[in-house]
Symmetry: C2
Subunit: 341 residues, 2 copies
DNA sequence: CTGAAAGCGCTTACAG
DNA sequence: CTGAAAGCGCTTACAG
């Protein structure tokens, strides 16, 4: 069992179009035609014979050869800040599913929201002849936007949008508005915001939709109560501490991600504040986790998996020569005990 | 700006070895040699000239052609149950980093711990000429193990091991032991276990190391207090509820994942039990989250990122013709407020 | 050190 | 409907 123990196995001779053709006594082009998705210019009988033989021999088309010949790799690349962010892993899940369904495979790369890493990963993927990109790490700064112009293949932004670019997002302005209306309805007037990364359209729009709605209702949120950062737990901890240090009387905090909201809750707990009696907390994304927290978290369902599948479908349409438009999915507020006891 | 809005850009003519050779007035084989990682049989001067031209023209090697010619794709495949499990995304992060460092790219696929999905994804990756596999979704059942024998390429198990197979894991027996010793030291004698998936070596070994240690100390854990399930939050919620229903007097619960531990905490909270005064809770993996929970979670650091990098390095050694051995990393207990107030 | 040639496995016009 | 041929871009023995 040596072969098993060292993780390798004897490699059996490769089955190719040529070997099948030889065995069947036909030309390799006939075999190729018979094995194409929608066989054309071959008799039904030949198709059947060839496919049976292919199946029997365990034929597996060599994608490298096909790619070299056709210029299409049936591979796409995806960039995200970090896959350990469950929200981003969810979007990838959707992309992956839609990819497989269409006969594609997706490379996914962690870029840590750094322009240099993204540049490197995009280059590597381009060298691998990807047919397109799903970019879920768009940044509203020059370097990041400039990179898009260098891409020589179709691409779609996912989750985070940019003005004038093809994208599939959730309507984050509406999401922020839903949260504001909910908190206003509960009587909150002194509210803090853990804004997340304001260079990501998600953080920016969720915050803006939220603040605009409060503003329309005549509720002011002073600048120092809107703290930018990242979307992780630590950022929530620190931003909340900052808000509560300058404004101990806030009655509610809105975080633009569930992870940050968990950090906010930790800070409140450390300070001995009860949730939601002393301070209400709202998150964003409605991860599975939100429901199961010690204090279940009110959050906005941002349909992350759907964002992924739709982004991939849009990309496929683009690759196929179509002209799809941008898509904005409707978010939905899910109310739980962190705002309503 | 039409080109930008629809996500595509005019495709400039491809730079190939042939086009560079023409431009430089040398043979394509010379260009190929000059551009190889460790140029051999070319003058230093030629290397310099060629590389300058390549850089200047923005040459990018066509991986499909190289793969077709050499039979190596510099691509590996990885399977995980689900990337939305932060623990698994962490392992992927390590694999990804080590891959890139070595000039490789990794495909990662969600298999949901289902043999049929895994079979399908492995086949697809095989068709893409992957040079090897990192398998992080091994199951101790026949179907899953049998599949490994069909793989015609080098492969390494990561995180979850199987007897007699090459693997890179954390020593889960020791991890379980560390938890047991900790709880014993705190005086706990009535303890429940949220065992997770017992078909995964992680869940099985962590539970076994834990129970064996208690047994050696003369502490019995009746079967009904050891509840199998998955590694997610929901499983933690349900398993804890089951334990507490049959045995309301337990003073500690060990969950084999942090996610499940969070579920356990939620259940305790719903029942009005204080953590750790009434019931102590221990998790596993030491995710970033553990530290920031309302009650910081005692957990075992399982060095997930390292498992990923080491698994990839082991695979590369195997691909390179070496005979690496299995690796078992040392876990470390991180004590926090969920066991010690 | 450099060149000329073969060939990896596939798809696809072009004949017949 | 089937065959024969060309060629995608690369690497690598084989000459010189």
């Amino acid at each position: 069992m040596q072969g098993k123990q060292d993780g390798t196995l004897r490699r059996s001779p490769t089955v190719t179009l040529a070997s099948l053709a030889r065995e069947l006594g036909v030309n390799v082009s006939t075999v190729s035609r018979a094995l194409s998705e929608r066989p054309t210019g071959v008799s039904a009988a030949t198709v059947a014979t060839v496919r049976r033989a292919a199946e029997q021999r365990g034929y597996r088309r060599n994608l490298a050869a096909r790619t070299l010949r056709t210029g299409r790799s049936f591979t796409v690349g995806m960039t995200v800040a970090r896959l350990t962010d469950v929200a981003l892993a969810s979007v990838y899940g959707g992309v992956d599913e839609a990819s497989i369904h269409a006969g594609y495979t997706t490379f996914v790369a962690n870029t840590l929201d750094r322009a240099d890493l993204r540049r490197r990963r995009l280059d590597l993927m381009l060298g691998r002849q990807v047919d397109g990109f799903v970019l879920a790490d768009s940044h509203l700064d020059g370097a990041a936007i400039g990179q898009l112009d260098d891409l020589r293949v179709p691409h779609v932004l996912a989750l985070r949008g940019l003005p004038g670019r093809l994208s599939v997002t959730t309507d984050d302005l509406v999401g922020g508005r839903l949260v504001a209306e909910h908190l206003l309805g509960l009587g909150h007037r002194r509210i803090g915001v853990v804004a997340g990364d304001v260079l990501a359209s998600t953080g920016e729009q969720r915050t803006r939709g939220f603040l605009d709605t409060l503003d329309e209702a005549g509720v002011d949120v002073p600048q120092h109560r809107v703290v930018p950062g990242l979307f992780d737990v630590r950022s929530g901890v620190e931003s909340a501490a900052q808000i509560l240090a300058t404004d101990p009387d806030v009655t509610a905090i809105f975080a633009t991600s569930d992870a940050a909201a968990i950090g906010v809750m930790a800070t409140l707990r450390d300070l001995g504040r009860r949730i939601p009696e002393d301070v209400a907390v709202v998150g964003y994304n409605n991860l599975d986790l939100a429901e199961a927290l010690p204090v279940p978290l009110t959050s906005v369902d941002s349909r992350l998996f759907d964002v992924g599948t739709q982004a991939m479908r849009t990309l496929l349409e683009l690759i196929g020569g179509g002209s799809p438009g941008s898509l904005s999915l409707e978010p939905r507020l899910v109310v739980r005990a962190s705002t309503v006891p």
